[in-house]
């Protein structure tokens, strides 16, 4: 045995034992390969954060990208960023899916002889494109979405260098009407932006500013602070919403004026008039009374807008009284053929109430190419006329988002070579001759300037997964290949060098670390009304189509202009208002439904001058009787989740594209208009179920989502200081005062020796129901997405959901009404309660005692833990959970529903649950564990605010607080003591760790 010495022997033993152990642990052995040379900033097991910028919408929020071992696993808001102040909406949260998307374009493609797209090499692709451009440079055109300043500059340089015909910016939801209106009203061609912080009266003319507006996260945060009752005794800012439909934004308003669609401008001017008559504005404004405002008296306006004259008078007086009021112009949904005049009217109103310069910032004329729908249509004509030989497409999906009647697809046929730059395939790349695969947003450098003073950087956070190049580099490579001259005219170096050069005036490293350079916006010089104001023609817009119902094509809260449709979470999370997922639908009022003889779930035909759609009817009360509302964003035929490919039907559209029923839709000044059709509704006699995740919105007085009137709140304030015995006043005013807090201290419910009892607080008055927390929870906790079929069976796995209740339900209860559809709203009533519902971590949890195998138990620090490995799936716990927050894996969702490479994005800190196992929220226990480790290393206890749950982190309005209930100083303890505090379903005495703060009913605005 001389040749086998001790070391070798031990090695062998080790290997043997190791392999035995490995074999024993799991069915398939996977090797862990350690770093050979470990990157200095990476410690395996520790997350690294990189500052970046969200590319999901033009708002350009700041990101902190959480990466583990070189892979982004979660997107969080950048606290230093002035736009989103550390918060991130559902769309932003889901952005991570674009990098790990199964559809990713992995290498260049060109259309082969067969007519199909075939893989090719970069060299070939670039040579091909360059050659085509070189043939007829001036017949080369660039068409694409809004980009950051540097990238925009690069494109312009490219156009110049190769001598291309021109560049057109096409952004479906660009605020063109606002820009035009600003020119008309202030004489400056710029896009004013709105600042709600400090406002005391917000008048929203259907901007949907909390969902699909210009900057939802920013505005939601500002509004929440402006009306925080804990800092404003008077209840803070009031919100008056003008809209034909109860959108999520409207559901957060204190008052809802359901004006006839398209008449917002008339109402605005009428209000301006009343305001001036009541002392608002100065002489210049009084001068308008005789001119612009001459025939906008309350009475006639009331007739046109269908808003009671007294309301107009009252609101007008309120506007005059308000110290800092602001009016928001119509958004996409209400952009009629008169959008510019309407928006102008709203700007005039803003000027009258003195908002311009403070709440309404009018920046200097915007530089660079601006999005223009008119130019886009012109380009299409040029293409059609055969004047375009090469078309470079980027950052846009015109083949989907331009109505068919504009003839983009046909025009594309006439273009010699269509080149599409994209990281994910869509309807447009499908029509391209050459597809240039670009990096995903998380893989590439970029920058953004959402508004003056805010410059934001996007930096790569992982090594590119595939053989792709950043848009900048690809464009440079093509340009340089066109001709030596072009090559000389283009900036030298890589796209990154170009970007750095553009930022040369800043401390690059600092900017990179901070996520950008943020200076105070240069104060816009006081803007006077231009003379053109008089030329505003504020009249009812023209409608085409013979029908009786105005078609409102509103942007889907998550899918936006359709770009969100290919992200699983955005499809899975139910719409904030109707709670429908994975589908298109048509909202009609009960009266309309009755006249058509249809019920919730029946299919109705929607016929306009441009086309006919068939949609499942969602019958709801929050809708004028003369409108039918259809969400935009569905109806894709390309994309794993956007089309029904994930259901095994590739190429089959999911839902319908409402644009198929809209004409090219140009307003009188060339802007884009959506509100143009009168639709004829018909009953098809068929019915098609759509995945609706909530079918009852009557909470039957069970105190799940409480509301308290300002009066009751004031009484409580003078109570015994413990919030006991105060009444939960009800929005509908019927509420006899009742106890909404039971006498127990949630801090008790943990192990006697434990230093912590984790608790959560949800302020329903701040919560807007935007579902950012839901998306964050999905991504953070690897919650499976189950898809359309399973959603139809109501088997979604969301650990955290938002329940939408109308009032406290007692009137319906007394009336003995048992409604089966989400339709208990009524026009004009905004008592909508959005209740965040997740595991309450009960002190005496009903679920724990019934589990036969102790798969769920109460942890020492007061959490209601789940032991997935121990669960055998009796599902008794879920039956016994009154909050119904437990979710069961009926299938092996993670395997069957999560295509590669999505798994690369899973959070390594959270177990992936298998088939037949129960799962639920545990207050992001992995984050608690992380913090505990740090604290332990530093030999201290966890600080308040050190643990931030995913939902809390995401919440745009900071409605969620988390912390240690055993620390009387912690934010959550204070919240538990709040006058508005209560526990959901407290009569069951489950002793929840989650405290809700009742929504505040501020009542109607007094004039």
């Amino acid at each position: 045995m001389s040749e086998l010495d001790r070391r070798d022997f031990l090695k062998l033993v080790g290997v043997g034992a190791g392999s035995a152990a490995a074999a024993g642990c799991s069915d398939h052995v996977e090797k862990l390969i350690p770093y050979v040379v470990q990157p200095e900033e990476i410690t395996p097991g520790n997350a690294v954060f990189y500052a970046s910028t969200c590319a999901e919408c033009p708002a350009s929020c700041g990101l902190h990208v959480r990466t583990r071992e070189g892979r982004p696993v979660k997107l969080e808001g950048n606290p230093d960023h002035p736009i989103n102040r550390g918060r991130l909406c559902a769309r932003g949260q889901s952005g991570i899916g674009r990098t790990y998307h199964p559809d990713r374009l992995q290498r260049p493609q060109k259309r082969g002889a067969s007519g199909e797209l075939e893989d090719t090499t970069w060299e070939e692709a670039i040579a091909l494109v360059a050659a085509e451009i070189a043939k007829a440079p001036q017949k080369t055109q660039v068409l694409g979405g809004q980009t950051g300043p540097t990238r925009g500059q690069l494109i312009d340089d490219f156009v110049g260098a190769v001598g291309a015909g021109g560049r057109t910016v096409y952004e479906p939801f660009a605020q063109e009407a606002l820009r035009e209106a600003a020119r008309a009203v202030f004489g400056i061609e710029t896009v004013p932006h709105f600042d709600l912080s400090g406002a005391d009266l917000v008048l929203d003319f259907g901007s949907d500013f909390l969902e699909s507006g210009p900057s939802p996260t920013e505005h939601a945060g500002q509004l929440a602070d402006a009306r925080a009752v804990d800092t404003h005794d008077d209840g803070g800012a009031r919100v008056i919403a003008v809209s034909p439909r109860l959108s999520m934004t409207v559901s957060n308003a204190d008052e809802w004026l359901s004006a006839r669609a398209g008449t917002e401008g008339i109402l605005a001017l009428a209000l301006a008039r009343v305001a001036i008559e009541n002392g608002a504005g100065d002489d210049s404004h009084r001068a308008l009374l005789g001119g612009l405002l001459a025939d906008f008296d309350a009475a006639s306006a009331a007739k046109k807008t269908d808003v009671p004259a007294e309301s107009i008078e009252r609101v007008g007086r309120a506007l005059a009284k308000a110290k800092s009021a602001v009016a928001l112009p119509p958004g996409v949904a209400l952009s009629s053929r008169r959008a510019i005049d309407t928006t102008g009217a709203v700007l005039v109103l803003n000027h009258v109430i003195g908002a311009v310069g403070s709440r309404v910032q009018v920046p200097p004329a915007s530089a660079g190419a601006q999005p223009s729908y008119r130019e886009t249509l012109a380009l299409i004509q040029a293409m059609d006329a055969g004047n375009v030989s090469v078309l470079l497409l980027h950052d846009a999906n015109p083949a989907y988002s331009i109505p068919g009647t504009a003839g983009f697809r046909d025009a594309l046929e006439k273009v010699g070579l269509v080149v599409a730059f994209a990281s994910l395939p869509d309807e447009t790349t499908a029509l391209a001759d050459v597809v240039i695969p670009t990096h995903s947003a998380l893989e590439s450098w970029d920058d953004a300037q959402p508004r003056p003073g805010v410059r934001s950087i996007a930096q790569p956070t992982l090594r590119p997964l595939y053989d792709t190049r950043s848009f900048g580099d690809a464009l440079l490579d093509i340009g340089r290949a066109v001709s030596p001259a072009a090559s000389g005219a283009l900036p030298t170096g890589s796209w990154r060098n170009v970007l750095e050069a553009a930022w040369a005036d800043t401390d690059w490293t600092a900017a990179l670390a901070r996520g950008g350079v943020f200076t105070d916006a240069p104060a816009g010089e006081p803007t006077a009304l231009s003379a053109d104001v008089a030329r505003l023609e504020v009249v009812e817009p023209k409608f085409t189509g013979s029908g009786s119902h105005t078609l409102i094509a509103f942007p889907h809260g998550f899918l936006y202009d359709g770009r969100g449709a290919n992200l699983p979470w955005l499809q899975e999370i139910p719409d904030n208002v109707t709670k429908v997922a994975w589908a298109s639908w048509a909202e009609i009022s009960p009266a309309t439904a009755e006249s058509l003889g249809v019920e919730h779930g029946d299919v109705i035909g929607v016929e306009t001058s441009a086309g006919r759609l068939e949609l499942t009817a969602v019958v709801r009360g929050g809708l004028r009787d003369d409108v039918v509302a259809v969400p935009q964003g569905q109806g894709h035929t390309v994309g794993w989740w956007a089309s029904r490919a994930d259901e095994g039907a590739p190429g089959e559209a999911r839902g319908v594209n409402v644009l198929d029923a809209l004409p090219a839709g140009v307003d009188e000044r060339g802007g884009r208009a959506w509100l143009t059709e009168k639709a004829a509704l018909s009953n098809t006699g068929r019915s098609r179920r759509i995945p609706t995740q909530q079918t009852h919105d009557n909470q039957r007085g069970r105190q799940i989502a409480e509301s308290i009137s300002l009066v009751a709140l004031a009484e409580a304030a003078h109570g015994d200081g413990h919030g006991d015995g105060h009444g939960g006043g009800h929005g509908d005013g019927h509420g006899e005062a009742h106890e909404i807090r039971e006498p127990f201290d949630p801090a008790d419910d943990a192990h006697a020796d434990s230093e912590y009892r984790w608790g959560l607080g949800v302020d329903l008055d701040r919560c807007t129901g935007c579902s950012a927390c839901v998306a964050a929870c999905y991504v953070e906790n690897n919650v499976p997405v189950v898809g359309e079929t399973e959603s139809l069976r109501v088997r979604q796995m969301a650990w955290l959901r938002i329940e939408r209740y109308i009032g406290d339900g007692e009137p319906e209860l007394r009336a003995g009404r048992e409604r089966m559809g989400p339709n208990t709203e009524s026009v004009g009533d905004t008592d909508v309660r959005h209740a965040v519902m997740m595991c309450q971590q009960c002190g005496s949890a009903p679920c724990e005692s019934v589990c036969p195998v102790i798969a769920t138990y109460h942890s020492e620090d007061g959490l209601n833990g789940m032991i997935y490995n121990r669960c055998i799936g009796t599902r008794y716990c879920a039956n016994n959970c009154p909050y119904k927050v437990r979710r069961f894996n009926y299938f092996d969702n993670q395997i069957t529903k999560w295509p590669e490479p999505m798994r690369l994005g899973l959070n390594p800190d959270v177990t992936v649950r298998g088939q037949g196992v129960m799962e639920k929220c545990t207050y992001c226990v992995q984050r608690i564990a992380e913090a505990r480790q740090v604290a332990k290393n530093e030999n201290r206890s966890i600080r308040d605010g050190e643990v931030v749950t995913a939902c809390q982190q995401a919440c745009p309005t900071q409605a969620i607080t988390f912390g240690n209930l055993r620390d009387p100083e912690s934010a959550v303890s204070k919240q538990a003591e709040n006058k508005r505090g209560y526990h959901a379903l407290h009569v069951l005495n489950t002793r929840p760790g989650t405290t809700y703060l009742a929504q505040v009913d501020r009542g109607e605005v007094e004039g």
């Binding site: 055998i872 799936g873 039956n879």
Partner: protein
């Protein structure tokens, strides 16, 4: 004096059978003779149902429980319904054997063997559904308190754990009871059988010879077992009912559940005995042993328990109203007039209304109508569990997650398969063991012969 003529031992030992073997022996052993074609036909059907269900179940384990109709928030469905149904069926046997034995109700002798067999088979059928129902049946052994290196024990606070103990105890005890009662009859069969049957019965009969000592300890054992089984039979369905009563689900959380379920169990058990024994008696011509008098007594029991069950239905609604607890009231209102109204009214009509016909002696003694009524009761009792479980879960505290459940064909096929399984076992039992306790019958007959009283009174 002269010794008596010695009789060769051989003659004493084995005449093939002494001529004039007892009537009971001949009649009842005949039942076990060569099966007819019809028998095989029936067996084929039941076996098919059983195997189809088995295949579907395997598929379900592979794919996941999603193939069933579960939906948030209805986490229990047809499987638990059927589990409770079979546990209920299992109550007739022990009741008849044990309780009626203690009450010295001699008429039980004619039916107790069949009923005991049903008990055993029904428990076995029910037990399977615990495995079919769980999400990870391959881990279901976790529910047993066995020592493991994780140092984990089970949660004895969970009603499901009580269930596990109650059901397994009940299965064991009823099998013991069944077997002990069977031994003397096995000896009878042994003495008359040939071939493999002889081997089988010899083994099972444990060398029983009916010596006075054997008989003495036998009757003592039966007595004690009856004493134990009586509280057991009451406890088992109480425990099953606590699976629901111990939860906080509106419509489940009720104190009357234990007696309510026990009554229901006896109700359904007796109905099942009738449904099965009526054809058996008819086919094998056992009218001499199972008389209309027996069936009438069963009918009386069914009538009584029907009244109890009907009362429970009524009182449930009364309490819901009287409690003034809104979720409770809503749950019950929707039970009767909500999405599950059909099931509810089926249950009420089959269980509380139709059995009232049994007030009339004409119907109690008219066998065909008894058969029909008992069948209705079986259907009604399945629906009772369906209504309690499903409608309770579908309308809980949080209206935002109210839902509606409908079973899928997979579930229904597996439920049907359980009937196949039960029937298969019973058919095999018919051909293997005496369907009526022969020795007990004889006890009555010999007694009658000696004292000239009518049998079975």
């Amino acid at each position: 004096m002269a010794p008596p003529p010695a009789m060769p031992v051989a003659d004493a030992m084995r005449p093939a059978l002494p001529d004039g073997d007892s009537q009971a022996n001949r009649d009842l052993l005949r039942v076990m003779e060569k099966p007819s074609l019809g028998y095989f036909g029936l067996l084929g059907i039941t076996l098919l149902a059983m195997h189809v269900a088995g295949a579907l179940w395997a598929l379900m384990v592979y794919l996941g429980l999603g193939v069933a109709g579960y939906t948030h928030p209805i986490f229990w469905g047809a499987y638990i319904v059927t589990f409770v149904f079979w546990v209920g069926i299992a109550h007739a046997g022990t009741l008849i054997s044990a309780i009626l034995f203690l009450f010295r109700a001699k008429w039980r002798n004619a039916i107790n063997r069949g009923a005991e067999a049903m008990t055993v088979f029904a428990v076995l059928t029910a037990a399977q559904f615990l495995g079919i129902h769980v999400g990870r049946m391959w881990k279901s052994y976790f529910i047993l308190p066995y020592p493991n290196q994780r140092g984990l024990w089970v949660n004895f606070k969970s009603p499901l754990m009580w269930d596990t103990f109650a059901i397994s105890t009940y299965a064991t005890i009823s099998i013991v009871f069944f077997y002990i009662g069977l031994v003397p009859d096995l000896a009878i069969a042994r003495d008359r059988a040939t071939g493999w049957r002889k081997v089988l019965y010899t083994a099972l009969a444990l060398g029983w010879q009916g010596t006075s000592r054997q008989w003495k300890s036998h009757s003592r054992s039966v007595l004690h077992l009856s004493g134990l089984a009586t509280p057991l039979v009451l406890s088992v369905h109480s425990v099953v009912s606590w699976d629901f009563a111990m939860s906080i689900v509106p419509g489940w959380h009720a104190t009357i559940f234990a007696p309510y379920f026990v009554a229901g169990a006896i109700f359904s058990g007796f109905a099942m005995v009738l449904t099965v024994m009526i054809p058996v008696r008819r086919i094998y011509g056992l009218e001499r042993y199972i008389t209309d008098y027996h069936f009438e007594n069963m009918a009386r029991f069914i009538l009584l328990t029907s009244l109890i069950v009907g009362y429970a239905y009524a009182i449930e609604y009364f309490v819901a109203w009287y409690s003034a607890v809104e979720p409770e009231q809503t749950s019950f209102w929707l039970r009767a007039f909500g999405p599950y109204w059909i099931s509810t009214w089926t249950m009420i009509i089959c269980n509380a209304v139709i059995p009232q016909l049994l007030w009339f002696k004409k119907i109690r003694t008219h066998i065909p109508s008894l058969f029909v009524i008992s069948t209705f009761v079986n259907i009604g009792m399945w629906f009772e569990r369906y209504v309690i479980i499903i409608s309770g879960l579908s309308r809980e505290y949080d209206p935002a997650v109210w839902g509606v459940y409908t079973p899928t064909w997979v579930e229904l096929a597996i439920v049907a398969g359980s009937f196949g399984f039960f029937a298969t076992l019973f058919l095999i039992f018919l051909k293997l063991f005496p369907v009526i306790a022969i020795s007990e019958i004889k006890e009555l007959e010999i007694h009658a012969k000696a004292h000239g009283a009518g049998a079975g009174s």
